[in-house]
Symmetry: C2
Subunit: 143 residues, 2 copies
């Protein structure tokens, strides 16, 4: 592969590493302000959009379902999430954000300036270019 070790590629790889690190710092910082861990914040964010069965949360998180049990337990203890039965399947438990949970998720989103604030330094045209390059890098087609 011709692109493996040239300086330019390595530079981009390194920059992406920095982006990843910066992203996590911001995310964990915002979560910690609400006394949440990164995993809890992530799940709360998912559930603020729609209730989900435990199993689907595990798929989204790419972890074992047994792990989700604990995360939901801790969010439920704090009144941010509740378990509901699924009327269509009695095996399933739906985890749903409470009103308090949705409020927290909204505050969390607003605090997540990581990619918004630094992006302000780029013009619209530049952001468009960046978007398209990232899309192609991720293997999506530009629609």
């Amino acid at each position: 592969m011709a692109t493996r070790t040239d300086t330019l590629t390595l530079e981009v790889v390194e920059l992406i590493g920095t982006v990843v690190a910066r992203y996590h710092e911001e995310y964990d910082r915002a979560a910690a302000e609400h006394s949440l861990t990164g995993a809890q914040a992530r799940v709360l964010g998912l559930l603020s959009l729609e209730p989900l069965p435990m199993r689907k949360i595990a798929v989204r998180l790419k972890c074992e379902p047994s792990n989700v049990t604990g995360i939901i337990d801790r969010l439920e203890t704090r009144g941010l999430v509740e378990r509901r039965p699924d009327p269509a399947d009695r095996r399933v438990k739906l985890a749903a954000a409470t009103e308090k949970g949705r409020r927290t998720a909204r505050e969390l989103r607003d605090a997540l300036d990581f990619a918004r604030e630094p992006l302000a330094g780029l013009s619209d045209a530049e952001r468009t270019v960046l978007r398209d390059l990232l899309r192609r890098m991720l293997g999506e087609e530009t629609p």
Copy 2:
């Protein structure tokens, strides 16, 4: 801030989220192939470049020094890392990759195709643009 909620910005933010997720998948997968955790692989990568005092590892990882003790313990048990005294300061212990550790780190690096392989779809000019946009996003100046 004018850039907070426009569609373009949110798209870019989402793409960056995807990049972060993809990066971790690749990293953890590559680490797991050598029976290493993400944290262990990261530390081993650092130490394959140069020996470091425990304290500096903690700074790089942005965690408590007491945490590093355990990570180095586990790498040392597997013969990938060794602790050496610092001749200049007897309080300090230098963690250094062993020959086996350096070999593992090299294999790990070679397996880390995350950002290299997908980058192959971009031309040199595009990669240059991407590099410069990422740099500016991260607040570095283009030298």
